[in-house]
């Protein structure tokens, strides 16, 4: 099952290496990881999406991450109501004939075209992973020349629906 883990980490050299190292050492598989500055000075937020076989393993991941000295806070936000976004840039082949057709696909996905050349165009799309996947599938027949995705970044919504908050791994 897919888990989204949000980490608040010290912005020290080698932190990302520590985290990816831990994943490979313990044989966990990362699907995506995104890193950037956070609202705190000197701290970054990392969002990892991992695939695990059981709750027990995702609990281990959380605990092992918590042990890291440079990691301030670990939250498994999968069960929470979250806002999760990913950005993708897609360079797709386009001829003057197909351009309009592509535009008609872009609109319902609220994607935007950010560059156009003689035989290709670059589309930017943001949203949850599933939406991006759906769009990519749709656009594939036109010929994707290049594709770049940022991976999911996420955090909990300001208001949580109570029924959704259940998993708490802290046993302290």
């Amino acid at each position: 099952m897919k888990r989204i883990i949000s980490l608040l980490v010290m912005n020290e050299p080698g932190v990302l290496n520590r985290i990816t190292n831990l994943f490979s050492k313990r044989n966990y598989n990362i699907e995506s990881i995104s890193v950037g500055l956070s609202e705190h000075d000197g701290m970054s937020r990392i969002t990892c999406v991992v695939h695990v076989e059981s709750e027990q393993i995702s609990e281990q991941i959380t605990k092992q991450l918590n042990k890291q000295i440079d990691i301030i806070k670990v939250t498994d936000i999968t069960e929470q109501s979250v806002v999760a976004r990913e950005l993708a840039l897609i360079k797709v082949q386009s001829s003057p004939q197909s351009r309009n057709e592509i535009y008609s696909l872009i609109e319902p996905f609220r994607a935007s075209v950010i560059d156009v050349s003689k035989d290709s165009m670059v589309i930017q799309i943001t949203g949850e992973s599933e939406k991006i996947e759906a769009f990519v599938e749709l656009i594939k027949p036109y010929g994707i020349k290049e594709l770049a995705r940022t991976g999911t970044t996420a955090f909990p919504r300001g208001t949580q629906r109570q029924s959704n908050q259940k998993t708490n791994f802290s046993i302290v």
């Binding site: 050299p13 520590r18 050492k25 609990e59 281990q60 605990k63 890291q68 440079d70 302290v172």
Partner: protein
């Protein structure tokens, strides 16, 4: 007046320090008494200061020996072992020791030299990315990038290494930082917002455990090295005597509970004793205190303690529930948890039947070997060493058959007398770790029990023993083979002894003589009696080459993939 003012000003200006000075001051601040180090290019600025240092500097003959000695020192003294190695090969030579200390939770602070900041990343002479190499096998590691940070970083390193679940910390110091000059920096406080180990147990969980104990019919305590790290042997004894819950030890926990106590069942696990393993298999309440349910202890998890409610006291929350589902988790220091349990005790469990059952097992199925054999049996050697030192010696070992016999037959009376490489299983550990152990307790009788193969992985450290005239007794269990490998090949690979026999050996006695250490070859029990009486209590180093039965196997044994109750080689 003017001249005087000018002079003070001049003095203030000249009050500068180098990075190496700051390092020396920080070590002094931490009350470091012994440093195991090996000089080299990148640590020359540091070694220039060590020339005048107050602490004892021990020069191992190989960096790996240095860090194993530091591990032995840490295990016996409870203080962090300090290691210095140069950049590149010096640093990579301590890697095995770091991994070993990580597995067995030993506090180590290792300093490695690094090439100068300006050439890092250019594949400079003796450059190695030691932070990258050691990230997975250290509790923490860091490189010093600002001279002013040295005092704080070293304070943090000692704090991290010794607090919570102890472990190795590595600090990488570029040569230019050690050499460059600065004004005495202002003191900085430790700043580790992401590191706050939990020491105090949760009261509700303690009460839950106390209730579970009072209701149990077949309780058993599994005590690991966490008891020793927390210095909780006295609390454990008090608790066990009040509640009368029998105790099983892990390999690394030995000594945490006195072996001659009537409620001690022995060591559990792959080569543990029958009673201990059956107790773990059949108990209805298993209280794990500071053990990590290692696979060598549990055997096949499917068959492990199938009827038991599991309670687990551990300072590392990640260990709880890692291998065995746990109903009563208690994140705490073992001493704190036991103290809390002592004050919240309920009625004693009703377990007369259980104790009677355990007694029957103990009588029927003790450890056994062929005592009538004309060959010198390794078990017999350990038994003799035990008797002649009254169970009070410090014992260090390598890994393998001799390690298991030492664990089975040396009945430790006291805590912190046992130094062995448990988790990583490092050959060549026993001899150098005995050096650190002896330095930590100069009065103690220290026996380095080693195999003939493991001994040859760190023979060179005899030079240190002689140089410091440490009265270490090196007991080689010489079976001319890699005994445990041979045993497995015997059982699981149709006795195809692929490179596990070492028929060509040096004369260990002559080798000892080369280091000016007296050596004895011992081939039978009478010789052993005579020589041990003569040399065991001298204040000189001695090498004893016991020519033990090379066909002897360690029993009982649980084959890989089997449960604890499926022991073979049990005395019938």
């Amino acid at each position: 007046m003017v001249r005087e003012a000018a002079l003070t000003e001049l003095k203030a200006e000249t009050e500068t320090v180098t990075g190496a000075d700051l390092l020396m001051a920080a070590l002094e601040e931490e009350n470091v008494e012994v440093v195991f180090g090996y000089p080299g290019g990148a640590v020359l600025p540091i070694y220039d200061k060590i020339y005048d240092a107050k602490f004892l500097h021990v020069l191992p003959r190989h960096e790996q020996g240095g860090i194993h000695a530091a591990e032995g020192y840490a295990r016996i003294s409870g203080k962090p072992g300090v290691v210095i190695a140069t950049s590149g090969p010096g640093a990579t030579n301590i890697v095995t020791g770091l991994a070993d200390a990580m597995m067995d939770s030993l506090p180590i602070v290792a300093f490695t030299g690094q090439v100068a900041t300006g050439v890092i990343g250019s594949d400079a002479f003796q450059e190695a990315d030691i932070l990258g190499i050691t990230t997975p096998i250290t509790k923490y590691n860091m490189q010093i990038r600002n001279l002013e940070d040295i005092p704080r970083i070293i304070k943090e390193a000692f704090y991290i290494a010794t607090s919570g679940r102890p472990g190795p910390v590595l600090i990488d110091i570029p040569k230019d930082i050690a050499a460059s000059i600065t004004k005495q920096p202002e003191a900085q406080e430790i700043h580790l917002p992401g590191y706050q180990p939990t020491l105090k147990p949760n009261f509700l969980q303690i009460r839950k455990l106390a209730e579970a104990v009072s209701k149990a019919k077949k309780p058993v305590i599994l005590a690991g090295a966490g008891v020793l790290h927390a210095k909780a042997a006295a609390e454990l004894l008090a608790y066990v005597e009040q509640q009368e819950v029998p105790v099983v030890h892990t390999l690394l926990g030995l000594g945490g509970f006195p072996a001659d106590h009537s409620l001690f069942l022995g060591m559990g696990g792959m080569h543990g004793c029958y009673t201990a393993n059956m107790a773990l298999s059949q108990c209805d309440l298993l209280i794990n205190i500071g053990a990590r349910f290692d696979d060598r202890l549990t055997g096949n998890l499917v068959h492990f303690a199938p009827h038991a409610t599991v309670a687990h006291i551990d300072i590392d929350p990640a260990e709880i529930g890692k291998n065995v589902p746990t109903l009563i988790p208690i994140v705490a220091d073992a001493k704190e948890a036991l103290t809390a349990l002592l004050t919240h005790m309920e009625e004693k469990p009703d377990q007369a039947e259980w104790i009677a059952q355990l007694r029957t097992w103990q009588e029927k199925h003790p450890y056994h070997y062929d005592k009538d054999s004309p060959n010198l049996k390794p078990q017999q050697v350990v038994e003799m060493l035990h008797v002649k030192t009254n169970g009070e010696a410090i014992v260090t070992t390598d890994v393998g058959q001799h390690q298991m016999w030492a664990a089975q037959y040396y009945q430790f009376k006291n805590a912190d007398r046992w130094v062995t490489s448990g988790g990583l299983g490092t050959m060549g550990f026993g001899l150098p770790s005995s050096i650190g152990a002896q330095l930590a307790d100069p009065e103690a009788c220290v026996i380095a029990m080693v195999g003939d193969a493991g001994f040859q992985m760190s023979t060179q450290e005899m030079a240190v023993i002689k140089e410091l005239n440490l009265p270490i007794k090196i007991a080689i269990f010489n079976n001319q083979s890699l005994g445990m490998v041979r045993q497995w090949q015997d059982f699981f690979y149709q006795s195809r002894y692929s490179y596990s026999k070492i028929p060509v050996q040096p004369s260990f006695v002559k080798l000892a003589e080369a280091y000016d250490i007296n050596g004895y070859t011992i081939t039978n029990v009478e010789e052993a009696e005579r020589v041990l009486d003569e040399v065991l209590h001298t204040r000189e180093p001695v090498l004893l080459d016991f020519r033990v039965d090379s066909e002897e196997n360690v029993f009982p044994m649980i084959a890989p993939g089997k449960g604890l109750h499926e022991m073979v080689g049990v005395k019938e």
